[in-house]
């Protein structure tokens, strides 16, 4: 899995559900594969909040230079690098130079952790890299459309190579205070051409803007 990858279903960066085009954003089919209707199984209050987020898309934490969180960090139009080194898988993302260090040695999760990209622990199930992510801060959105998760989010990601240049990426999200049941999204990641390098991406302007820091 080593190399530089990028999500091939970019419309998911705008909206993980099926959506028509808006200015600057292409239309796209839902990347939610469970439930089968492709819709996020929001609880009523959470659905209202998602609608409110849509009305106030300027609140998007990524627009204020915060990190994407999981699983959103896997879908933006920025490349990322997967490194496999003995007891670790490391993901270096171009966007906001965010990164995930994923121990593969079976150590337990950190306690009382609360961060944008969470605390990841990985293991192999056959040829599938399975990553369990806890310690997420619940401030992240899932896309630019205002779909979101809260602090009870727990993600299990599954990365499987489906060819030399493609990875099937699945994230099963459990969040009983926002959703009536767990749901799963799936996108394909494509290997980037050989000459690709990650270029430094600094997001500074918004970090100055703590007023918009999600509370």
């Amino acid at each position: 899995m080593q190399g530089i990858w990028r999500n091939l279903q970019l419309s998911a960066a705008f909206n993980v559900e099926a959506h028509e085009e808006t200015y600057g954003a292409p239309a796209g089919l839902s990347v939610i594969v469970d439930p089968p209707d492709g819709k996020l199984p929001y609880l009523p209050a959470a659905r209202e909040k998602a609608k409110d987020n849509w009305e106030h898309r300027g609140r998007d934490p990524v627009g204020h230079c915060h990190m994407h969180g999981v699983p959103r960090v896997m879908v933006p139009p920025f490349p990322f690098r997967i490194i496999q080194d003995r007891d670790y898988v490391v993901m270096l993302h171009e966007t906001e130079h965010s990164l995930r260090i994923i121990p593969m040695d079976g150590r337990p999760h950190l306690k009382d952790y609360s961060s944008w990209d969470g605390d990841s622990r990985g293991h192999w199930e056959g040829d599938t890299l399975v990553i369990d992510v806890t310690g997420l801060n619940g401030k992240t959105w899932l896309d630019q459309a205002g779909n979101f998760v809260d602090e009870n989010e727990h993600v299990v990601e599954r990365l499987t190579m489906t060819g030399p240049n493609t990875i099937q990426y699945e994230a099963r999200v459990e969040d009983p205070t926002a959703y009536s049941k767990p749901w799963t999204m799936r996108v394909t990641l494509g290997r980037q051409p050989k000459k690709t390098e990650l270029i430094e991406y600094d997001c500074i302007e918004g970090e100055r803007d703590v007023v918009h820091y999600p509370k």
Binding site: L99, L198, V210
Partner: protein, 259 residues
């Protein structure tokens, strides 16, 4: 003498080529070397054989681990570099640099070499690259080892790094730095002309020697040379360090632990 050096170079070239040759090929190579040893001292020859063995096994010196620098370095780099000889105009600017002007307070990435002593970092290695992940504002560096040329022309807070092994030492050449990063909290700084050559050597299981030379004729009369010993943190984990700046421009690290 010169023929010996050439012979070593050829040896090195041969090594790269043999790569994964079957054992008979390696034996033939060794036999040829043993029956016709070079004129150089035998120690050199043994070192060469050890290097060959390591190369054939695909091993690099192991720099992996989480490393921590002496805290004094980030307070004032002169604690690990000695007195810096600035050119006169640059010395005046250094004296004018106040703590609240520290780019750290604007949540900027620490730059090179400061990243190596502003927070713990973790080294990862694959055969074709070394990766350094710094806790400080989740910055990282990819250091290719395949001899590709620098990417020049895009100024980068963390610079453009190219690495190579010299024996047990990882040597990293860094250019394309911005003139916006400082060397410490005391206002020592460099310009966008800085050229940094770093040397990482593992001394034993728990220590890593870090040396670097910063050439920067715009601000230094002679290269600044940093030399410090880093300690292994065998139980730690690199944590998420988000930095947010408030309206007054002061910097807040956001703790990744629940209050």
């Amino acid at each position: 003498m010169s023929s010996t050096i050439r012979s070593d170079v050829e040896q090195d070239g041969a090594l790269r080529r043999v790569g994964n040759l079957p054992a008979w090929g390696v034996r033939a190579l060794l036999r040829r070397r043993i029956t016709n040893p070079p004129q150089a001292a035998s120690l050199h020859y043994i070192a060469l054989l050890m290097f060959m063995a390591a190369t054939l096994c695909g091993q690099q010196p192991d720099l992996r681990g989480i490393w921590k620098a002496p805290p004094a370095a980030n307070e004032n780099v002169e604690s690990v570099a000695g007195k810096i000889a600035y050119v006169p105009a640059a010395l005046a600017k250094k004296h004018a640099n106040r703590p609240d002007g520290d780019p750290e307070h604007r949540c900027l990435q620490p730059g090179i070499p400061r990243a190596n002593y502003s927070s713990p970092f973790q080294i990862f290695q694959t055969p074709d690259a070394v990766y350094i992940v710094y806790q400080d504002v989740h910055s990282y560096r990819v250091i290719p080892l395949d001899g590709r040329p620098h990417e020049d022309g895009i100024p980068l807070a963390m610079g453009d790094s190219r690495g190579r092994w010299e024996g047990n030492t990882l040597v990293v050449d860094v250019i394309s730095l911005t003139g916006e990063t400082w060397l410490d909290k005391a206002g020592n700084y460099h310009s966008d002309a800085a050229h940094v050559v770093e040397r990482y050597t593992r001394k034993d299981q728990s220590t890593l020697q870090y040396e670097s030379s910063i050439e920067d004729p715009k601000v230094f009369q002679k290269p600044v040379k940093i030399n410090m010993t880093l300690q292994l943190d065998s139980k730690g984990q690199i944590l998420e360090d988000e930095c947010v700046e408030d309206a007054k421009g002061s910097r807040h690290h956001v703790s990744p632990f629940k209050k």
